[in-house]
Symmetry: C2
Subunit: 168 residues, 2 copies
Amino acid sequence: MSPARPSFANWPCSIARTVDVLGDAWSSLLLREAFYGSSRFEEFQRELGIARNTLTDRLRRLVDEGLMEKRRYESEPPRYEYVLTEKGRDFFPVLAALSRWGDRWLAGEEGAPVTLHHDTCDHDAHAEVVCSACGEPMRSENTSVRMGPGYPEHLRTRPDIVRRFTQT
Amino acid sequence: MSPARPSFANWPCSIARTVDVLGDAWSSLLLREAFYGSSRFEEFQRELGIARNTLTDRLRRLVDEGLMEKRRYESEPPRYEYVLTEKGRDFFPVLAALSRWGDRWLAGEEGAPVTLHHDTCDHDAHAEVVCSACGEPMRSENTSVRMGPGYPEHLRTRPDIVRRFTQT
DNA sequence: TTGCTAAGTCTTGTTACGCAACTCTGAAGG
DNA sequence: CCTTCAGAGTTGCGTAACAAGACTTAGCAA
């Protein structure tokens, strides 16, 4: 009846909503490729080895969701490029955080396959996730979760939900 | 012949490797639930509405990958709990970054459904991804990518690969 | 005896995805 | 003019992932 994964788009949770948009294996890698400078269909296909029909679908979704823009950069013959929008470029920090986790937990003896270089300060570095207020690291141990202004009215008082926001 | 998504586990890229482990819709949400304090099968199932067989599979994978540990906390009758390991807890910053992106780009007029509170400094705040060296924000515009120590020897000189690491 | 909870398994059906082949358009070569 | 080539897809086929819901097992409780 509904074998497709249910939509998380309307859940009161930004993680779920984001996962709904980008929560498949290829989307993140397409964005990575875009940050590496890829912009054309054949380029994405060659670099990632993704199936062409899947690529068509993912690019369409990224465009629909506003992370990429499809542009014809040549008319005769028609040629297209996919470029990141501001919304798409703003996903970079997430990839940097992902990358950091992978460097730490999935790299072998040899060390990280790829390193980041922060041009601003001209240092090789890695991403760190910190508190916007004090700049200290945000970790599960020192961070708690609260209902925000956008939390749906009709759920605010449900006992099971109240419980999860009043300590772990 | 190979309808299943190919494995990214051996790609020279920490993003791909991480996506290989957690790159499906449910895994990240299971971790989120765990950070909320869920630990039991029925609890995950109820909160997320995930199909039970899929849940069985995802929990097994998270345990196999070392992000969670399965413990029998009662013998008669046997009851189990799934608790985050250090490796799993270290994924929190990634979720925080994801959440930040969703807050910014997917929340409506009402604002963020959920906010984070940094207990260390006692402020409501959001996650920020910064350079480990200078503490300034890491964005695609100011960050470049370099081969790391773990980059495979036999790929280091391939022209197409060299190209992608020498500017975009 | 019936019922309840936790933690799964099993069955059935649909869909997502990989793979390869094919299409379409316009240019380039001989 | 005929053939070939490249970019950007689309189409057809087969398999495996997933959802939904029923069933199972184990122990306890009324």
